[in-house]
């Protein structure tokens, strides 16, 4: 999983501001439960996610724990770590970079959830759990390319784990559960099929991306890409300062977010917007508020502003608005927000 070759720096990505913002907000507040990126292929989605992961502080994990449990007895732990602490065994802390765990479209259920350990079963006649991708993804980023092409039941399982932060396995003679707290990033090209609304709703934020349309930006993309390919190391070095600044800003925002105040009228407006937009359930307002809070923290402010909320609405609402197929969006978000501004 470790990559020795340098990753295209996040700070060097041209345009796609909404996507970058959505990703950043999820890093600041992982309870935003993920980003769905809708758009065509070749729009730097995976590059952005990998670049962002580079900027995150290293995790402290218990050595040898396949679930990346933190070396902390009070945390949410896997059964083995719980046992180790209970038995007073030494649990050594090691550092680990935040990983982008990829879930391939053809992944089988065993691979995702984990399964009966074949070797252990045959050689020792013992039943034990062999961890899957959800285990690897704990405390990391789970990247699902073309999530709309994934088997339905896998998506169900995936989103269920994401929502509960636990992977519960009751299959193949195994009864096991472990923490599975990850930032979910899904991508899809809507032309290749839709995702069920139920599943859409589980993604905290959603951005629609398209290729850049102004010539200058396009040229800049090509120029940087060529520079990166010609000398990845030197290119990465030339962007290191911007990367460090962003990393620092993210770290600050993560500390600050707990202190961001949400004024009464911001709550009022969030509720009014989602009532007006006619979204199902309550995830829309809650997500909007959380995203606004994270935006304020990112800007270094201690109070969420109206502008924060409006931007948050653009990220939290598009995939939650009830609309019937073949009708364009029933309401116009811009119009709605303009009325409030």
């Amino acid at each position: 999983m470790t990559e020795n070759h340098p990753v295209f720096p996040f700070a060097a990505l041209v345009g796609q501001e909404m996507m970058k913002t959505a990703l950043i907000l999820n890093i600041i507040d992982p309870s935003l439960s993920g980003v769905l990126i809708r758009g065509e292929k070749g729009t730097a989605k995976s590059t952005a996610v990998r670049g962002l992961a580079e900027l995150l502080p290293e995790l402290k994990v218990a050595q040898g724990c396949p679930y990346n449990c933190p070396p902390d007895p009070r945390a949410d732990l896997c059964p083995e770590c719980r046992r180790r602490w209970a038995d007073g065994e030494a649990v050594e802390a090691v550092k680990s970079k935040v990983k982008v765990v990829e879930l391939p479209v053809g992944a089988t259920e065993d691979r995702v959830l984990g399964t009966l350990d074949l070797e252990e079963a045959i050689t020792a006649g013992r039943r034990s759990f062999s961890p899957g991708l959800l285990a690897q993804a704990n405390r990391n980023i789970l990247y699902v390319d073309e999530v709309n092409l994934l088997d339905d039941h896998l998506v169900d399982i995936l989103l269920d784990s994401a929502a509960m932060a636990v992977n519960t396995v009751e299959r193949e003679g195994i009864s096991f559960s472990h923490p599975a707290r990850f930032t979910l990033v899904g991508t899809m090209n809507p032309e290749e099929g839709e995702l069920r609304p139920q599943l859409l709703d589980r993604f905290g934020l959603c951005v629609q991306i398209a290729g850049l349309d102004d010539a200058a930006s396009r040229a800049e993309v090509v120029r940087r890409r060529l520079a990166f390919e010609a000398g990845p190391e030197s290119f990465a070095r030339s962007w290191r300062r911007q990367g460090r600044d962003l990393a620092r800003r993210l770290a600050r925002a993560r500390r600050l977010i707990k202190k961001v105040r949400l004024a009464e009228d911001i709550l009022d407006q969030a509720v009014a917007i989602s009532l007006r937009a006619g979204t199902d359930g309550h995830r829309a307002d809650l997500t909007m508020i959380k995203a606004a809070r994270a935006l304020a923290a990112f800007e270094g402010r201690r109070e969420a502003s109206r502008q924060d909320l409006f931007l948050a609405a653009r990220l939290a609402l598009p995939h939650r608005v009830k609309r019937r197929p073949f009708e364009e969006m029933v309401f116009d978000l811009d119009e709605l927000l303009a009325a409030w501004a």
Partner: protein, 630 residues
């Protein structure tokens, strides 16, 4: 490597039941079930993101006894549900030690199934069986055992995602529909509490410890006093009357109703359950068991989006989505403005209203939405649900294979291995996958009189079917033929965006190369069948049956078509022929003959008007040939 924990115990703290905002009916239903577990469980239905699961999980803390709440995950396999042999014991000691499954573990407590409508049918049947008998039987690898499994079933579902079988539905004593809090003040409070809980779960739980305790104590008092509560004869009579009026089959509805009324009196600390109690809980016990008259009331609602009337509220229809308009009724005369041979572009009409067979037969919000077909797969994709002894070259089910091998170990030579497996032990994985159908429309876009209407009809049908596609995983395609050739306007897809774009403009006019159309449609279907042999595609042909462009120059177009139809008719591909030649009453000839050669079902377009194309196609039952040609 970690050993499996004896019980899956997620450490995540639970949001306190007492801190739920609003949703009074849902809370009441759950509390009544906690007061009298013999009520038979609660089904919570509602749109996404309405705290259904939060409430259900919160209830566990108020539940009597220590059995608590056992969660059945969607991906559970049969062996974990009903139980199996303890593999380790069998291998290490050669003894057959049975191991309890989830159903037996839930004995005396709650079996919780999130998204119960997405559960595999086979698992659903196992649960039903146990719920009905209070017992789970384990017949495996030479072991035959039974465990008590008296659990209360609590399930949640979003009706938009698919339905639940009536049998399973009937297992739930009460059903309650929830919707998001509509009042701004309530929603704000909800956000505040949720943020507070997420910021500090334990602190939040401490803040709510007292209300939570009071709630638990009140429920315990209610439970203790339950047996002393009398039920007035009037209440009994009313319950019987209401159940009968609802047309609920069997006695279970009535019994749930009376028990719920009694639990309500207990909850409120009264010694007598009266008519008022019955009224309050009537909808909870009856709504999901109600049978509506079939044809009397057309249900114009989009399936799944209508909510059940809540107890005590007015029962007027409340729709959340405006039903789609029906296509214009046939005028009976041709569109005189349309000239032959002219190209025209028709706007895609607004989509049909969707009436699936289920919604008309059983009525209402519960049973109405699309069923996703679950089929066994052969190619290794899908969800592993159980193991089979049948050897078909599927993936090997290791767990089941080892369990099969284990009891025989003492008699086998192990040659250094800890387990000797012989070929008769091998078990294969049975995997299922939700798949939809392929519905391909073949539309005559030639310049004959009715092409405009036909095109509109076809577009509307495609659009309507696609609306449902995400639920049923159906794919829809569209081929049209006109002039000299057939065009694939929409390759099989479930993408709304793609369909929308390619259907926006649809030219008509010109000659009628029906044979070419049929050939193209079959090419597409055959290609899809090669990929998935169990697809069961349906080709819907909309034409007036007047071919005038043969495949082979000089051939008689009509003779050619009939020969082609006979050749194309084969099991595994269904055809529906919609005859748009309504002009002459007595002229059923051409399309009729085509339908017979194709062994297709046949309807007249005007007859279709009354039934609706989508509804006809939505039927799961095989279409009967020749139906409706009266």
């Amino acid at each position: 490597m970690p050993r499996p924990a004896p019980t899956a115990a997620p450490a995540a703290p639970v949001y306190p039941f007492a801190a739920l905002v609003g949703q009074e009916t849902m809370k009441l239903a759950l509390l009544l079930a906690a007061i009298d577990p013999s009520l038979g469980g609660v089904l919570i239905l509602g749109e996404r993101g309405t705290a259904k699961s939060t409430a259900a999980r919160g209830l566990a803390e108020l539940w009597p006894g220590r059995a608590g709440l056992v969660t059945l995950p969607l991906g559970a396999t049969e062996d974990r549900v009903v139980g199996s042999l303890d593999l380790e014991a069998a291998v290490t000691s050669g003894r057959l030690v049975p191991e309890k499954g989830l159903l037996a573990r839930a004995d005396g407590g709650v079996l919780y199934v999130d998204e119960v409508n997405l559960l595999d049918e086979h698992l659903a049947a196992l649960i039903l069986d146990a719920a009905a008998s209070g017992f789970v039987r384990l017949e495996r690898e030479g072991v035959s055992l039974g465990y008590p499994a008296r659990f209360v079933l609590i399930g949640t579902m979003n009706p938009e995602e698919g339905q639940v079988s009536p049998q399973l539905l009937d297992r739930f004593g009460l059903a309650v529909g929830v919707r998001g809090e509509r009042a701004a003040a309530g929603r704000k409070e909800l956000i505040r509490r949720r943020l507070a809980f997420e910021a500090d779960p334990e602190g939040f739980r401490r803040c709510w410890a007292r209300p939570q305790r009071e709630l638990a104590e009140r429920a315990a008092r209610g439970r203790a006093g339950l047996s002393q509560i009398r039920i007035s004869p009037e209440a009994l009579a009313l319950a019987a009357g209401l159940a009968q009026e609802a047309g609920a089959a069997g006695q279970r509805a009535e019994l749930s109703l009376v028990k719920a009324a009694r639990a309500l009196a207990a909850w409120q600390g009264r010694g007598l359950a009266g008519r008022a109690d019955v009224r309050v809980v009537a909808e909870l016990a009856l709504a999901h068991r109600r049978r509506q008259l079939v044809e009397a009331t057309p249900p114009p609602e989009r399936p799944g989006l209508r909510e059940p009337p809540l107890a005590g509220e007015a029962q007027g229809p409340r729709t959340t989505v405006e039903p789609g308009r029906e296509a214009d009724p046939p005028s009976g005369r041709s569109d005189s403005g349309q000239a032959w041979g002219l190209e025209r572009v028709h706007q895609a009409n607004s989509s049909f209203r969707l009436i699936s067979q289920d919604s008309t037969r059983q009525g209402g919000w519960l049973k109405s939405s699309g069923r996703r077909l679950r089929r066994e797969t052969q190619n290794g994709s899908g969800r592993y649900v159980r193991a089979s002894m049948e050897r078909l070259g599927r993936e090997i089910a290791l767990d089941a294979t080892l369990r099969a091998a284990a009891p025989n170990q003492p008699r086998r030579k192990r040659t250094g291995l800890s387990l000797a497996v012989v070929s008769s032990d091998i078990r294969e994985k049975v995997k299922v996958k939700a798949t939809g159908r392929l519905i391909l429309f073949l539309v005559d876009a030639s310049g004959s009189m009715n092409s405009l209407l036909r095109m509109r009809e076809a577009k509307a049908a495609v659009l309507s079917l696609l609306e449902e596609a995400y639920r049923k995983r159906d794919r829809v395609g569209l081929v049209s033929f006109r002039g000299d050739s057939a065009q694939v306007l929409l390759p099989p897809t479930n993408s709304v965006e793609l369909a929308n774009r390619s259907l926006a403009e649809l030219p008509t006019g010109g000659k009628t190369p029906l044979a070419q159309g049929l050939v193209t449609a079959h090419q597409i279907v055959e290609r899809e069948l090669a990929r998935d042999p169990k697809l069961e595609p349906l080709i819907v042909i909309l034409s007036d049956g007047k071919p005038n462009v043969p495949l082979q120059a000089g051939a008689d177009p009509w003779e050619e078509i009939l020969a082609l139809c006979r050749r194309l008719a084969r099991p595994g591909i269904s055809h529906l022929l919609v005859d748009s030649d309504w002009g002459h009453y007595l002229s059923f000839g051409l399309c009729r003959q085509m339908a017979e050669s194709l062994r297709a079902s046949y309807v007249k377009l005007d007859q279709l008007r009354s039934e609706g194309l989508v509804r006809l196609i939505s039927r799961r039952a095989p279409l009967r040939p020749g139906k409706g040609a009266s």
